[in-house]
Symmetry: D2
Subunit: 331 residues, 4 copies
Amino acid sequence: MNSFGNLFKVQIFGESHGPSVGIVIDGTPAGLSLFEDDLLLDLERRKGGLQKATTPRQELDYPLFKSGIFNGKTTGQPITILFENNNIKSEEYQAQRAIPRPGHADWVAHQKYGGNEDYRGGGHFSARLTTGLVAAGAIAKKLLQGISIQANILEVAGEKDINIGIQKAIDANDSVGGIVECKVNGLPVGLGEPYFNSLESMIANIMFAIPAVRGIEFGTGFNAATMFGSEHNDAIVSTDGKTQTNHAGGIVGGISNGNELIFRIAVKPASSTPKIQTSINMDSGKLEDFSVMGRHDLCVALRAPVIVEAATAIVLVDCMLQQQHLKRVWL
Amino acid sequence: MNSFGNLFKVQIFGESHGPSVGIVIDGTPAGLSLFEDDLLLDLERRKGGLQKATTPRQELDYPLFKSGIFNGKTTGQPITILFENNNIKSEEYQAQRAIPRPGHADWVAHQKYGGNEDYRGGGHFSARLTTGLVAAGAIAKKLLQGISIQANILEVAGEKDINIGIQKAIDANDSVGGIVECKVNGLPVGLGEPYFNSLESMIANIMFAIPAVRGIEFGTGFNAATMFGSEHNDAIVSTDGKTQTNHAGGIVGGISNGNELIFRIAVKPASSTPKIQTSINMDSGKLEDFSVMGRHDLCVALRAPVIVEAATAIVLVDCMLQQQHLKRVWL
Amino acid sequence: MNSFGNLFKVQIFGESHGPSVGIVIDGTPAGLSLFEDDLLLDLERRKGGLQKATTPRQELDYPLFKSGIFNGKTTGQPITILFENNNIKSEEYQAQRAIPRPGHADWVAHQKYGGNEDYRGGGHFSARLTTGLVAAGAIAKKLLQGISIQANILEVAGEKDINIGIQKAIDANDSVGGIVECKVNGLPVGLGEPYFNSLESMIANIMFAIPAVRGIEFGTGFNAATMFGSEHNDAIVSTDGKTQTNHAGGIVGGISNGNELIFRIAVKPASSTPKIQTSINMDSGKLEDFSVMGRHDLCVALRAPVIVEAATAIVLVDCMLQQQHLKRVWL
Amino acid sequence: MNSFGNLFKVQIFGESHGPSVGIVIDGTPAGLSLFEDDLLLDLERRKGGLQKATTPRQELDYPLFKSGIFNGKTTGQPITILFENNNIKSEEYQAQRAIPRPGHADWVAHQKYGGNEDYRGGGHFSARLTTGLVAAGAIAKKLLQGISIQANILEVAGEKDINIGIQKAIDANDSVGGIVECKVNGLPVGLGEPYFNSLESMIANIMFAIPAVRGIEFGTGFNAATMFGSEHNDAIVSTDGKTQTNHAGGIVGGISNGNELIFRIAVKPASSTPKIQTSINMDSGKLEDFSVMGRHDLCVALRAPVIVEAATAIVLVDCMLQQQHLKRVWL
């Protein structure tokens, strides 16, 4: 299913080359000032065409409020945000349909939906659906007053210097991956539950909803596996829970401890590389060389930070509502 | 909250030093042959006292079926499994209560539950609650006929040779972490959903419910971030979806593709190290040296594989019921 | 929250005088033939302006598919259906805003949402939101091949002869209520669960989502309270579960028994009566006489049958998916 | 499934003649004083053997806390309450198994669970499972400080004088039904949501989880269908929302309006009547006369009020947590 959250729920919908993509956000407290323009900054960050190595597709991405807003404020009812799809070239997808693109969902979608999937531009699997996520995230951020969420590219193609990383992709005429780090400051203590609704569980859950994410680690993460306990443990040095180090990344026992929340995600190289690739032709049963058509990013990780922030914000609002840290009416 | 799953739901409960720990499993199809002894093998794997570097606490861990089984078969109703707590030494926890143990949930629990938490032996946060998970996993495995789930220690304390890793801990008189890899074979194509219920999302969600897990990666994982797209993409080489390589780890677009499912988790070193540590005394507001008492593992990662398998099996049964791959009655 | 269902989920949104109303339907199996026109018959039944005693508001009610349909078939992804709002007169609502209309949600909405509610035409509380429900119901009915769902007016204003009932309303220049009965034939045995997800629980849950519903009874219903057990019990007379009588209305132990499913709902008279009424003026704190403006039905029960059918169909599809009675792909 | 609730969740389990029945309650705020004896008063009200027309089975019904309580207070973790089954006579059920008892779940359970159901004493379908509900309800009532919930028998066998009603059953040597009314005072305004989580939806949902309930109506209920709108509408007479009449029963637009919450439920006569009945013998395929054995109530409605109160309290706590009306820590 395509929904997430308990008290702050998002339901995404749409297809890359269908009439629209969008999201319904249910559970936004009433009285929050909200205009369509409030979402544009984050939507702009998500958009392609701005940087080398991102797609030249011009997505207008103007969010249409279809419900839940009245007189520039949230009503407490579901907010529906629609992005009409305009700038679409679909023909080429039909031509190459028999050959499932490696790394893409073409083959599994065909199996799971019995051939009824909208295969144009990845259909429902397209990263275009993250526009809705970013829009919801921008609203969530507005609710999280006093909490800052910042995601940044940490590495591209294995390089700390992002420009070197991007140049590597351009030189190789190939797509590359990257690592994104997200830091949250100002979180109250006590968000998350032991076990299944641990803060890590909820964040990880939504991060793997972002296309191309292959791993997540909190705090010291995988390196923790090589440390001694006496090194890894963060000594609590004041009664408000501040710790000397922050190997835990701000979560202990599944629950926020008031220190900076830190996690990193691994983003694979875009499946749509300009390189010639081989795949099976499902009609002939034979392997074929082919090249992916359409307009694509060389490094999807570059667009990821704002999506990671949005997803984080969505989780945090849900947690804060569950912990009764957010009042429901902004009077 | 302490429950997980949609059609195959588990609800865990209990405290390390309370009357019991256990689990309620709702959604098991009727007619599955099930005896308490069927669970013992996996419970034994989870137990301490068997290996160097695991705790000498003798947990009897005998599962009591309190509901849902009749004449040696599941009835289709909730199965309640209770583990009575017997071998308990609680006094020492009271003595050191003012000093929250670093790396443990003591401090956050105190904040979140206003001092009402059962602090003895970690209370509800204790890894002892994973007995219930392992019991549910053993049932889930029985349902997953023809599917094998195997988790193994890949590394301890940064060493591929586990014995070297354990010796490192013993020599340093300190706890150490490790990495566990899980492989699933025989999975049908089509499990998982795009976005929020991606197979990765659900697996990651439940893995972070296991105490001490700090990271998860699927397939090539974090290394994917350093690869070119043309390298990372798995070429589909036959019409049944078999791929030449398996960098994706068996999941594409959030959906199982019929290849081996592979993921790894990072387990931090046990917070309870024998080393002297520093923490705040919440009564005096001063830092103090102290050593953690109680019986503890030097390397909790050693117990993790069977828990990881159990958690994986729980997710997979849920997915298979949602995909209608499992019949509900074993006639 | 505004969503319902487990495997077949509906999320409604919109306001009577906002940009649109609509629904997202998540969980429709792939491959079902579906055109916008397929929904028109039921939408027409729901519409006002067709009968004496229903509102003259001309709602165009043309359903726009915004996602989830490709080449005239469902894709297995969320289906978004939008109804643009056109024929709107909102001014009068502003004028009478200080006086909460008795029987309407004006006063509670104002309290709950802190004055941020869209008060025009009942806003999100308007029965106009049932268009989405009817659209989803029409899809659900298509999935329920071989199962017939028929709801009918049983009584209007206490009269079995509906025309007499309606004439009573017209003569009194007042709104009137009614009783709707719903019968389902062809249901498989085994839908529903004991206790919280009993078939009655799920049907009752969704029926009370329909505005103006005040009661529900299954089979003999309230009359069962006056019968002897030997009278009320339905004797099973054949091995396929057919019963001699059907006082249970097709559900025993929360589970469908294969006999006709029957239930009735009570619909109150529309709160918007043409009669002069008294209510508090929230600004002055004084009681005032006023008359409700806008265009309204004298008997909303007349529109209810198709909504009751839709709600029933939504529940039944969800139950059938849970019981694995519906295949997910229409190949 | 056998769970209910969003922030205050109950999971019931057990069988009438299995090892135990019980409940897990997840979401109780920490710090509430709670002893097993606190539950006894309500459990006593539910028990048989106290009144004419209720069963002579002596259920000890002593609640064992298996988790979630520490030092006489709730910890904020799942509370498991177990009732061991002791006083059991099961043999007779085996003897009459081939003949499904009319009105009972025997036949549907056999179909749904493929013959694997625990058929002894109704198994999981037994009203004995309501002990858990009553225990959870007693906890919920403690959380609802300042809110009174009172359910009473309104009618037995069609008689307002309960004793006459009961005597009718004794004279006829047959079971009889009844009507229970529940009134809640002190509710805050604003509980419940429009549409699917209307307060009526949630209450109706859980009421139909109580065995033998056949109908529910709020406020004026079915009689509303015979009234004019001008009669039925409750005039708001003060700015705090008090109404002159209370035909709505305290809920408007799905949301509590601060007036008394009133609803009634219809309870059918117990299926286990002492009268000779006819049913199919599933082995021979022939109709047979038989009489139900075991110990049973002539009027289960007599036990219902405390169960209705419990179910109501569970819903209300969940709603109040969602509305942030309940603090999570009782310091």
